[in-house]
Symmetry: D2
Subunit: 345 residues, 4 copies
Amino acid sequence: MTAKMKALRKMKPGQGLDLVEIEVPQIKPNEVLIKVIKRSICGTDLHIYQWDQWSANRLKPPVTIGHEFYGEIVETGDEVRHYKPGDIVTAEMHIACHHCYQCRTNSAHLCENVVILGVDDDGAFADYIAVPEMNIWRVPKEIDPELAATYDPFGNAVHAVTAGPTVGKSFLILGGGPIGLAAIPIAKAAGASIVVLSELIDYRENLARKMGADHVIDPTKENLPAIIKDLTNGEGVDVVLEMSGHPKAIKEGFQSVKKNGRYSFLGIPSKPVPIDIAEDIIFPGIHIQGINGRKMFETWYLMDALLISGKVDLKPLITHHFKMENFEEAFEIGLSGNSGKIILE
Amino acid sequence: MTAKMKALRKMKPGQGLDLVEIEVPQIKPNEVLIKVIKRSICGTDLHIYQWDQWSANRLKPPVTIGHEFYGEIVETGDEVRHYKPGDIVTAEMHIACHHCYQCRTNSAHLCENVVILGVDDDGAFADYIAVPEMNIWRVPKEIDPELAATYDPFGNAVHAVTAGPTVGKSFLILGGGPIGLAAIPIAKAAGASIVVLSELIDYRENLARKMGADHVIDPTKENLPAIIKDLTNGEGVDVVLEMSGHPKAIKEGFQSVKKNGRYSFLGIPSKPVPIDIAEDIIFPGIHIQGINGRKMFETWYLMDALLISGKVDLKPLITHHFKMENFEEAFEIGLSGNSGKIILE
Amino acid sequence: MTAKMKALRKMKPGQGLDLVEIEVPQIKPNEVLIKVIKRSICGTDLHIYQWDQWSANRLKPPVTIGHEFYGEIVETGDEVRHYKPGDIVTAEMHIACHHCYQCRTNSAHLCENVVILGVDDDGAFADYIAVPEMNIWRVPKEIDPELAATYDPFGNAVHAVTAGPTVGKSFLILGGGPIGLAAIPIAKAAGASIVVLSELIDYRENLARKMGADHVIDPTKENLPAIIKDLTNGEGVDVVLEMSGHPKAIKEGFQSVKKNGRYSFLGIPSKPVPIDIAEDIIFPGIHIQGINGRKMFETWYLMDALLISGKVDLKPLITHHFKMENFEEAFEIGLSGNSGKIILE
Amino acid sequence: MTAKMKALRKMKPGQGLDLVEIEVPQIKPNEVLIKVIKRSICGTDLHIYQWDQWSANRLKPPVTIGHEFYGEIVETGDEVRHYKPGDIVTAEMHIACHHCYQCRTNSAHLCENVVILGVDDDGAFADYIAVPEMNIWRVPKEIDPELAATYDPFGNAVHAVTAGPTVGKSFLILGGGPIGLAAIPIAKAAGASIVVLSELIDYRENLARKMGADHVIDPTKENLPAIIKDLTNGEGVDVVLEMSGHPKAIKEGFQSVKKNGRYSFLGIPSKPVPIDIAEDIIFPGIHIQGINGRKMFETWYLMDALLISGKVDLKPLITHHFKMENFEEAFEIGLSGNSGKIILE
């Protein structure tokens, strides 16, 4: 197969992307070729579009970007045993080495030698993508397949919510980007007694209410820690999920978390943040976790279970649809903050 | 206070109970005196009523029975600091010693020296009861206080459900007595993807559906393990809660649980049960737990959280109300199996 | 390569084995070919030799047996990336499918589709063996490589000991076969406060003392539960490891374990065992686990760490060496119980 | 009893202490009176002696200081049931309320209403001290009772070491004060594969070697993270225990910890420390814990088990003995850093 296809690529260092024609990828014996049906834009894609410091350090153009998608298998390598053409699938796009200490101790999401498709190698914002069989995830027939285009961020949110006890626990989510918003119904499905979201963009505040937040607080207008204490017998919440990366939010998280509570970090701050280790971590006995990616594949089974059972409804999170040709409009809306997930068809 | 009160007591070995007049209890400095408002009948009370082998070995008549109740504090001992007359409360009726290894390592529910009020000492089927301050639990104002009369069995069910991972997990509950029935909405609130109940009494099957079971199976009419395999991709359920005590159900539980799954036991079999340790435990890597009482007081906080948040609705579980004078009618209905929880007012 | 080699094979149903000449195996692209240097006899091999019920149900002769070994890589498949000829290695001989629920959730040791080399396909009691790269484990240069021939049972023991808290915990090991004996120094290295072994064969009792047991009890001559209570303030041990499969030992384990304690099962009983679920599991809140295989590869990293650091000394466990030609003598000693691990060179 | 006794007290705000005569305390019904035999100086006592900012904010003079000791019970209150005059005991000096959320969920060490004897109320640097029965810990007869005078810091170290998996794990301890030094043999007894201590004071470096450290690194002379990587296949240590409070050490801890590793904080920094949350916590998936006090009483049982079994030898940690009259000399040596634990007789 030497057919051509369209692909959204970073062709050289600098801002922007190009929609170009390249060859359809050749698959290896352990890979499948997938015709991509829908794609979803991640915050990482926005960083790459803008070519921030992280992108400049990490990417080696030219590369096809995009790592959130679903599609249909059209070809399978000789060693592929569990999938066949016609299967509707998505994929874990962190390609782990299966050999390092992390991979061999159930932490492939922290693989020392990871290759991320759409970052380190060609990704899903194209007509076709080649993915190793071990990374494929079958889209359950019971769910709207469009949701499978958001399994990557949905997985981040499930990973974060379920990284500790959830039943009967109170949650504060700092930041109403797509992962923070997805975490709302997940936490409730996982038994949270109360879920509070902190966010300052109106559009996202409204979306948070649609996703089921019990309280949505604008921390620039209200005293977040004081409200949290009021809602929790003065004790603070059991769990804080930090998804904003903002120093002020991070501090408010420490002021809002219960002694012996859990504080999980996902949002990437742009620089080091001063932390009062004595007062904010040691004396109250706080547990902090860095959350990275999704567990392969415990998190994926949970995602399926939460969607198939109807306990989580992610449809309100998908707010925009664009043709791939109109990617610039799509990326600009993504950058504005006035969106949930944006689908590229 | 040397006033008299009514109390439902086992006066001597043998079947039956007597409603008699005795003195209102004197409280110690660390106790509160509670005017009992409502009581609930436990399976243990039915065993005592019938005077089975366990009762004959354990009880030392005369003793006032009953350990599920709520009421109003009318008097507090000199050392009581956290409660006052007028407070609406219930209590953990396992009085722990606070000194043995179990008590000092967060397992007071397994105290070596436990005294159970209503079994080893005077209980709650009376107008008044004296309880140590450390065992008192304040009834949240947000809930119907009648539900607090069922905190003891509700706690057994919460303890059982939450004794391992629950989010996205499939549950099979063996036996639709009150604890099994209560476990249905608890499991769903705790994130269960699917909850199946096995029961053969029609009354309870109907109640199970009201409580939210996804499937109710009569194992005398259908092949329970086969149905479970159908519902779970052939893998079995993640969690089995054994609440029947029947050898056939116990075997069906082993046939229905997933490899690496959890099998929690609460139902008391009347005699030893043959278990195929190799095929049913070792090869599939099963985790078995004995569940006894409620954790003091993690379980109680969870109970409050589940009821206050509205995630669990226990009202359908309360099916009958009787005056204490009509206790014989109440106990006979309890023995018939055609009831949920029975309240004594 | 169509060279010939010697292999110890079950040629047809029935007792015994044959040392025959067959072709050296051809490797697949993802496999390595290993020249076997030393082998060790497992209890499973003894069962196959005797052709018990389990063997008759599971094996499909002809098949080369043996799954404990170490050797030197002499050839690597085209896709092998992490090993090269000359590497000294052993292997996890449970070949997992990497695709089932168990494999994808860190329980590959419970794989639904496992193929065990030496049982389901050709094993290590031969001059050469072919093994997939993902199952290879490099023998640390710091240890005597002969010990690597016992990584399989050593791994069972490490898996069992570390399946729950160990630091400051008291252990009772039921049965002094090789896995039980290996568990003694592992438990001590893992922080056990005291390790007691129950065994009735003199040879093994002596070996247990060499391995570091604090107490060795012959349960046919002494009252094991009474001694355990004496040693543990009347509370029982924190952990029981059942490695005998005997109903009497199993009951003594229940009589010896502390409330809230752990009871891990590895020894395979020949038939169902009556268990008093109420008195032995529910009331004391016991945690039971079936232990099967080794975790891939958490257990293997622990094995390396325990040996390299010198915290565990397994040398006394290796009591006999035979040439492969003298396998019948070796198997007969294994069947007698008067041995630790037996090496086939 | 209105007898007089000597007590080392902070009489008013400011530096220093006074050895004065006051009345022997009157015990309440739930307390025991202990004749103090030996005391040990804690870093907290040094802070109080110097009257640092924390002391000025927290203490309300006059108060008798000191919270590390052992002694003999000479009198028991009317409600005391488990101890009698003549018993040799020490005590958990955090007096918990037994009623707040933390106390009722196995985190009494984080009690919202804690009173620390020797800080908030009269402590142990006196001839006698009154302590509630629930806080008493019997000194095992198998150990040198002098060690019981150091149970408080020993407990901090046991709490820190055992706050996550230890078996086969590599440890880096930052800071060789008494708690850091005590953590060395504890980690080894708990199964650590390797224990490295970072410290820059010669006296403590030598002590660290006596306590069993595999490597002692002076981070001002050597590149600590580079050495750690060399010792751990380039992966970093599984566990870092931060016991120095120094920003440079804290950063070196992040540079030395393995992905998915544990970083436990005990050392109190004097001000907020900048932390690179993205690179140091989120991407490597680090688990951070604040460690405060000792678990009541899981940690205490572990302490007994580690000492009675002989797995931990704390004797080398006790480097100095003084009469209480010579307290100034004792405190000055404590402040110099040239000591392990200092006993006041």
